[in-house]
Symmetry: C2
Subunit: 352 residues, 2 copies
């Protein structure tokens, strides 16, 4: 076997090894040059879109310490649970949450089936292009819009609608697909964690079924590792075939204290690594900080108005206030988007 | 490398390969004798505790077909979701559901903190050892007992209590730990599916937090792959530390139609393989049968009064009536415990 093939082969095999095959490890170390592999790994920067500095170093230090077998901070692969907020942490959330943009478009697309919407708020404002009227409807209006556009159909039909929308809808400022507006540095972080046998989960206030339609392809996070807010679904027989029909009733709100509650409900383990960007992530980060071993808590601070957006304490979308104070007080990692990230979005897809 | 070491090494590496590393596959097939591996695999019976016959063959045929790359029934590893009921499918459920035995023991153990229970049903009947009185309290009484013993504490304290109980409580007939009363043929089936890159999940009417305390060690199924009925938990701060406190309120009942609903809620994929043993699994099996490719639906029929129990249509615990008719009509696999299973429980742990 040529040296290149040999190293490529070993570095793939090493992942299987780290997954916990103890006997295999004994065989492996007896026959393969592990030290050479370790050198090869450190020679390549795992986070090339992150500028060197304290933020990047805090991530690498943490991963190095919890994966060092025999070290005081070692954590077994099975317990390397990493949780990520989605909106504003993995992809763009301004000028409005992407799922809400989807809901607004669905109101327009299905208005002909709802003649009553012409005079009924908040639908009338959407159909008239009256954003002030929509804003005036407040949280109650938002809930009404979400319920109307996220219920009454089967899960299969809903998924088709979301996939079709994601394949065509463009962001109002960047004029590209929403799935192109994911953060390149965070994609690298997900890859880096997976290469170190972490299990990344999404833990988002967004709708679980909405996110599962792109998380797999966009982030390489499979549906069963996506946690989010959810509505009740009901098992029914339609034409002698079983379907799940989405109901208006909310089952679970995965935001704020709902994040640790959701992590317990879906995963049943405490994370050792968590990343968010808003006050809705505060309790998830606190819950992670209460873990029994070395833990990592991170926040993305949106500070780059020219390449993305700059917002925090006074933003309606992704408000970051109390969590920023807590992160500062407790020494959690805070990403300064403007200085810590070399690039924001994947190359060749966007120009601000 | 000696031939034995070489084969051991390759067969471990093969699992990594099947996980989907395409480039690795090319390297691997160029340098390793895959045909020799295939022969070695078929030479070993993957289900040694299953008697040869139509039942065993239906499982092996299904797995062979969906894993044959390039074949008409091939399913990608990521989509090989397998769901298993727990009570009566993976472990014993007679003479009463194990979790209910735990709850009854908890009533006795905590009675001194609840003097009112001496005169309050259904607790009074439990404390007096009056099983008829307990039975008379019906479903309402059962719910009351479950709520009283599964709420008011933190998730951490609950987990400790369950682990302590499982380490000591004995089954009334077999006089061994409940975790010794798992079905050896089903353990082999779980291993066989995992070796073929399936992802086994538990989908049970039982409490998710109860099951997560033994599923990992007993079945090699990690907490995040255990789905079950669940109560609401509430995030609170106790002495400036975050805790999750179990509430009396039910969040989700994972039984009957709740099984496909729960599968959608937690996994977000339709299974291609499902195994149950009672009418509570009927909708999960129907939902699996509605999948878009080749699917497998199985039922364990308890027919062995001497080695375990014999029960079906008239049983209060694990009633199997409508699902048995549907399985027969639709040609699903029905395990006849008495004739299909060589052994019931893991060797050297139990004697009936």
């Amino acid at each position: 076997m040529s040296p290149q093939l040999y190293i490529a082969y070993c570095s793939n095999a090493r992942r299987a090894l780290l997954a916990g095959l103890a006997e295999f490890a004994i065989l492996f170390t007896a026959f393969f040059p592990v030290s050479a592999l370790a050198e090869a790994a450190t020679a390549t920067d795992p986070l090339p879109s992150w500028n060197d500095g304290a933020t990047k170093q805090s991530i690498i230090d943490f991963v190095t310490r919890v994966t060092k077998e025999g070290g005081p901070d070692y954590v077994k692969p099975a317990e390397r649970v990493a949780t990520f907020d989605n909106d504003g942490t993995l992809w763009i959330e301004q000028p409005m949450y992407t799922q809400f943009a989807f809901a607004v478009d669905r109101v327009k697309a299905t208005a002909n089936q709802h003649p009553e919407w012409k005079t009924q708020e908040p639908f009338a404002s959407i159909l008239a292009g009256n954003l002030k009227g929509l804003a005036a409807s407040g949280e109650k209006g938002m809930v009404e819009i979400m319920a109307a556009t996220h219920s009454g159909m089967t899960t299969v039909d809903f998924n088709t609608t979301v996939k079709d929308w994601l394949a065509t809808a463009k962001h109002p400022r960047f004029k590209v697909l929403y799935t192109d507006l994911v953060y390149q540095p965070m994609l690298e972080l997900l890859d880096y964690l997976r290469a170190n046998d972490f299990k990344p989960f999404i833990v988002s206030g967004g709708g679980v079924e909405f996110m599962r339609n792109f998380a797999d392809q966009t982030y390489d996070i499979p549906p069963e590792r996506v946690i989010g807010s959810s509505g009740v679904t009901q098992y029914q027989m339609w034409d002698a075939s079983p379907v799940l029909v989405k109901q208006r009733k909310i089952l679970f709100v995965d935001d704020g204290p709902g994040k640790p509650e959701g992590i317990n409900h879906f995963i049943g383990r405490q994370p050792i690594f968590a990343f968010g960007n808003s006050d809705g992530d505060k309790e998830m980060l606190e819950w992670t900080a209460a873990c029994q071993q070395l833990c990592f808590m991170g926040l993305v601070h949106h500070t780059d108005a020219s390449r993305e957006y700059a917002y925090d304490r006074n933003s309606d979308v992704g408000k970051l206030d109390k969590a920023l104070d807590e992160a500062t007080a407790k020494g959690w990692t805070v990403v300064d988007m403007k200085t810590d990230w070399k690039t924001i979005f994947p190359a060749a897809k966007t120009s601000p």
